[in-house]
C-alpha cells in the first residue's frame, strides 16, 4: 500500500488544537490501510509521532488496556482514543474509519473469491500465502511469549500451555476453556503479586 498517503504538515501545532471528527476518521482510515501486517506499529506512528495526539506513555497505557480487553485490539484502541478526543461520536467515527475501508476492500475480494476462488493458479498461490500467514502468527506468538520465560519462572508458562493445549490441540470450545483458565490465572497472579 502507499507509504505516505498524507504527509503531516510541518506547521501543525502539536496537540494544541484537538483533532476534528474528519481528522479522526482520516487518521484511522490511514492506520487501517497502511497498517498491514501490524496495525499497532502504524497506530503508534500516526497517533504519537505524526499527529502528536498522544504522548508515548499515554499510548502505551491505552494500548495495555486494549490488549487485555477482549476483542480486536486495534478496534478497541480506536474506540478508547476516539472517546477521549470527542466522546461517543468520536469513538464511533474512529471505529468507522478503522473498519470501513477494509470492509469495502474485503467485500470486493469476497465477490472475486466467490467467482474465481476455484481457479487452480489462484488456489496454488493461496496455499503458499496461507503457509506464510501461519508462520507470521507463529513468529508473533514467539515474540509475545519472550517476556513470559525471561521472567522469574512462575506458573504463567503453564497457564499459557494449558490454554494452548485445551483450545489448540484438544479443540475445546473457547468458552469452557477460558471459563476455567481465566479465573485460575488471575488468582495465581493475585497470589504471586
Amino acid at each position: 500500500m502507499s507509504e505516505t498517503v498524507v504527509t503531516p504538515s510541518p506547521s501543525s501545532p502539536p496537540a494544541s488544537s484537538p483533532p476534528t471528527l474528519l481528522d479522526l476518521f482520516v487518521a484511522f482510515a490511514i492506520i487501517s490501510l497502511c497498517g498491514f501486517g501490524g496495525v499497532l506499529a502504524w497506530s503508534r506512528r500516526m497517533l504519537v509521532e505524526e499527529r502528536k495526539w498522544m504522548t508515548s506513555e499515554e499510548f502505551n497505557d491505552a494500548y495495555a488496556l486494549c490488549q487485555f480487553l477482549p476483542g480486536p485490539n486495534v478496534v478497541n484502541l480506536s474506540v478508547v482514543f476516539g472517546r477521549r478526543i470527542r466522546g461517543p461520536v468520536g469513538a464511533g467515527v474512529a471505529l468507522v474509519g478503522l473498519i470501513g475501508p477494509p470492509f469495502v476492500i474485503v467485500s470486493i475480494i469476497s465477490l472475486l473469491y466467490a467467482r474465481f476462488g476455484e481457479i487452480a493458479a489462484l488456489q496454488r498461490m493461496l496455499f503458499g500465502v496461507a503457509a506464510a500467514a501461519a508462520g507470521l502468527v507463529m513468529g508473533t506468538c514467539a515474540k509475545m511469549a519472550r517476556p513470559l520465560f525471561s521472567d522469574r519462572l512462575g506458573l504463567a508458562p503453564l497457564v499459557a500451555l494449558a490454554t494452548f493445549a485445551s483450545i489448540g490441540v484438544l479443540r475445546w470450545p473457547i468458552y469452557w476453556a477460558l471459563a476455567v483458565l481465566v479465573p485460575v490465572s488471575i488468582a495465581i497472579a493475585w497470589v504471586r503479586r
Binding site: 498491514f36 473498519i99 469476497s110 500465502v129 508462520g135 515474540k143 477460558l178 504471586r192
Partner: protein, 177 residues
C-alpha cells in the same frame, strides 16, 4: 427469507459471544472460528477456511477482517455486515465504558493482577491459533518449510510481511506448495 434471518442470527450470536473471549485480539479467536465454521456449522471446508485466513492476512486493515470474509461466505453482503458488527460491537461498548474507569484504578492491585493473569492466556490463545492454521495450511513439506521460515523471519527481523507473502505466493504459483 426466514432461513436467511436464521443464518444471520446464528452468525451474530456466534461472533458476539466469541468476541468476548478473544483475549489478545481477533487472532486469538481463530481456533474457535475454525471450529464453528468448519466443524460445527459446516459453513465451509478446511481448505476454504485456510483461503479466508490467508486473504484476511494479506488484506490491509486489522485482523478482525477475517470475520467479514466468513460472514460474506455464509450469507453474502448482509452476512459480512452482521458478522463484523457482532465481532466489534460488544467489545467496543465494553472498551468505551472500561476506559472511563481505567485511569482511576491505575494503581489498584487487582488491576495489575488481571493484567498479569490475562497475559499468559492471550499467549496460549495465539499459540493455539498458530497451531491450528499451521495444521490446516500444511499441504506439503514445502508448505511447512514456508511456515517455519516465515516464523523465523518474523521473529528475528522487522521485514515487512508483504515481501514474505509475495514470495510465498510465487512459490505457490510455481506449483511447489
Amino acid at each position: 427469507m426466514k432461513d436467511e434471518t436464521g443464518t444471520l442470527t446464528t452468525l451474530a450470536s456466534y461472533f458476539a459471544l466469541m468476541s468476548l473471549f478473544a483475549i489478545g485480539g481477533a487472532n486469538s479467536a481463530v481456533p474457535e472460528m475454525q471450529r464453528v465454521a468448519v466443524e460445527v456449522e459446516r459453513w465451509m471446508s478446511d481448505r476454504q477456511f485456510t483461503d479466508i485466513f490467508a486473504i484476511a492476512q494479506v488484506t490491509p486493515g486489522p485482523n478482525v477482517i477475517i470475520v467479514t470474509l466468513i460472514g460474506y461466505h455464509v450469507a453474502g453482503f448482509l452476512g459480512a455486515l452482521v458478522a463484523t458488527l457482532a465481532m466489534c460491537g460488544p467489545t467496543c461498548v465494553f472498551a468505551f465504558y472500561i476506559s472511563q474507569v481505567w485511569e482511576r484504578f491505575k494503581d489498584a492491585p487487582w488491576r495489575a493482577a488481571i493484567q498479569a493473569g490475562l497475559l499468559p492466556i492471550s499467549i496460549g490463545l495465539i499459540a493455539a491459533s498458530a497451531f491450528v492454521v499451521t495444521w490446516v495450511a500444511a499441504h506439503s513439506f514445502v508448505a511447512v518449510a514456508i511456515t517455519l521460515a516465515t516464523a523465523v523471519v518474523a521473529y528475528t527481523t522487522r521485514l515487512n510481511p508483504l515481501w514474505i507473502f509475495a514470495a510465498a505466493a510465487l512459490f505457490g504459483l510455481a506449483g511447489l506448495v
